[in-house]
Symmetry: C2
Subunit: 205 residues, 2 copies
């Protein structure tokens, strides 16, 4: 009993279930995730899911958290580039490459919807915040003239723009659109954005 209020000790079956769910999503996509397949792979009874997590939605969110962490790790080297322009280009490219190399798990991040009224739990929301913060660094360096509040919004906008391009490319045609073309388009987008942002920040001089 080393915890005060929330028992955090669910080491084994819970992990096996998340492992199994991650495998299933990576293999068949989010829509192909079935409770019976997951429990079958994890080697437990059907109902055991509901001792480990609240429902399948939480299981998906646990998998998504892992994916976000891996995505963050894939973006880490890029965010340490010194020059803002180069950093943003490298970040966006790393993002596109990660999406291409983890199609189904990456898609699950954005395909998953929880049932209308309920909001995202905090532990999962924070995983997103971490990612946004990592992207934010170079943009802050690029536009030091903007107040922090506007920058927070602008980071989300920048992320949304890159994300939208990758999203559209992957759902439009998995095959047919070569990896190089997508990376090139993302690069063109970020280049234009950076050029525009710099120009707007320095009207003259």
């Amino acid at each position: 009993m080393n915890d005060t209020s929330k028992p955090e000790s669910k080491p084994d079956l819970r992990t096996r279930l998340i492992d199994a769910a991650e495998f299933e999503i990576a293999e068949k996509g989010l829509a192909g995730l079935k409770a019976r397949d997951v429990t079958g792979r994890a080697g437990c009874a059907l109902g055991a899911i509901y001792n480990a997590v609240a429902d399948l939605d939480e299981l998906v969110q646990r998998v998504n958290s892992r994916t976000l962490v891996r995505l963050g790790a894939a973006l880490a080297p890029a965010s340490e580039t010194s020059a803002p322009e180069a950093a943003m280009l490298t970040l966006a490219d790393a993002y596109a490459v990660f999406a291409l190399n983890n199609r189904r798990l990456w898609s699950a991040l954005f395909e998953h919807r929880l049932p209308e009224g309920v909001g995202m739990p905090d532990w999962h929301r924070q995983d997103h915040e971490v990612l946004i913060a990592r992207i934010g660094g170079p943009l802050i360096a690029l536009r030091p003239d903007l107040p922090a509040e506007v920058l927070r919004l602008r980071v989300r906008t920048l992320f949304g723009a890159v994300h939208g391009v990758v999203h559209l490319a992957l759902q439009g045609r998995l095959v047919g659109l070569p990896e190089a073309a997508l990376r090139q388009e993302v690069a063109a987008l970020v280049t234009a954005l950076v050029a525009g942002a710099r120009q707007l920040a320095e009207p003259e001089a």
Copy 2:
């Protein structure tokens, strides 16, 4: 028998079913679309769906086609603006406003997935092409230096960028993010993109 091969004469029940499906999606979202609710609203038996359309997926695609047409109509006045920069700003703003005013139907356009292997039917793919073409006009005027093939890709990229921002804003928090803020962010994105694109197109002079 006025057709040669494909019987196109299904006037009434089919339309009522699409009407009902459109209403249900607008009311409860794509995930809330149930075969029994649709047939109940359309006033017919459960199985009647499968005489009018192949399955629920096609019913969703029929609704999505309507939405695309309405979206195209909402974008039409903006695309006729003469100056490319102003046209692109107006287009993007009209897109954001349409998404805000038709949240669930607009979301259905991108939430819907067909089962893994099968591709989008041509009649539905063309609805997308029309939309892309409408957006493409101003971009072509802005970057006459680029070859047609690159421009086709670039239009998709531009669309993806704007779409991604709106998408992220709407799924992140329906309430909490005011309409004005989203429109402002979209405007900032397009402004920066246009400034960057123009700058890259005219290195000097």
